[in-house]
Symmetry: C2
Subunit: 139 residues, 2 copies
């Protein structure tokens, strides 16, 4: 849950790591995180309005988002971190942490829904910056 607080501390792995063979799939934002004056919302793209049916009945929801500030080869090659950016914490593999550097930059946080107004979902909080691309919502 504290992904943004878990900063990378280890050196990038070698060049071969990020270039593993195999298919590449494409994802695109279905909305964005908005932080404005203490209010946090997820603003869904109008193209996805129909996908919102029923979201207003939920008390909480999973938000999958993209760590877009780390979307560069070097940061996607980091495979181990000192959790919570504390060098006293032993190195740990990113698959055993919520670090915002990882091969696929998907963040995942359960948030509480305060209200839904059309394409705008007001939430309690999320460990993501303003303007972060949102990839998916799941109950």
């Amino acid at each position: 849950m504290a992904a943004a607080l878990t900063l990378p501390m280890s050196a990038p792995a070698d060049d071969d790591t990020a270039a593993a063979a195999g298919p590449v799939f494409q994802v695109h934002p279905i909305g964005r995180v908005r932080r404005d004056g203490g209010r946090t919302t997820i603003e869904i793209e109008p193209a996805y309005r129909d996908a919102m049916l029923g979201v207003d009945e939920l008390d909480s929801i999973w938000v999958l988002f993209w760590f877009d500030r780390n979307d560069e080869r070097a940061r996607r090659s980091i495979l181990q971190v000192h959790p919570r950016a504390n060098p006293d914490n032993p190195l740990r593999g990113v698959f055993a942490t919520h670090a915002p550097v990882r091969p696929n930059l998907i963040g995942m946080t359960r948030v509480r829904i305060l209200s839904v107004d059309g394409l705008s979902i007001e939430i309690d909080d999320i460990d993501a910056w303003d303007d972060t691309p949102v990839l998916d919502l799941k109950p």
Copy 2:
């Protein structure tokens, strides 16, 4: 393939994506689901061995995977479904369901870890087919 990954990870949307506008991000498998004789494992690519450090200490883990059988424009454009494929269930937006058709085909399941042997994680079960691409693991 490797060249594509050295470039910035976003690109203009093209006609094959469901999104009308906005950036496209790239994800790639870090492993695969394997089902073999009643045994279910996640086989991690050797390139990501270092990312596994500490996974063997976990009792359960989130598995993010790709619904690759639905990776075509028509299925990524489906925004409402009858939950559990039962037409008696009222239509619901995919953001309020776990349907395997959605704009970004990311599946997410919490699984129990039975054992870890190198790059092979034996799990109790997962709602994904054999050979499903795995995108990420999170504690």
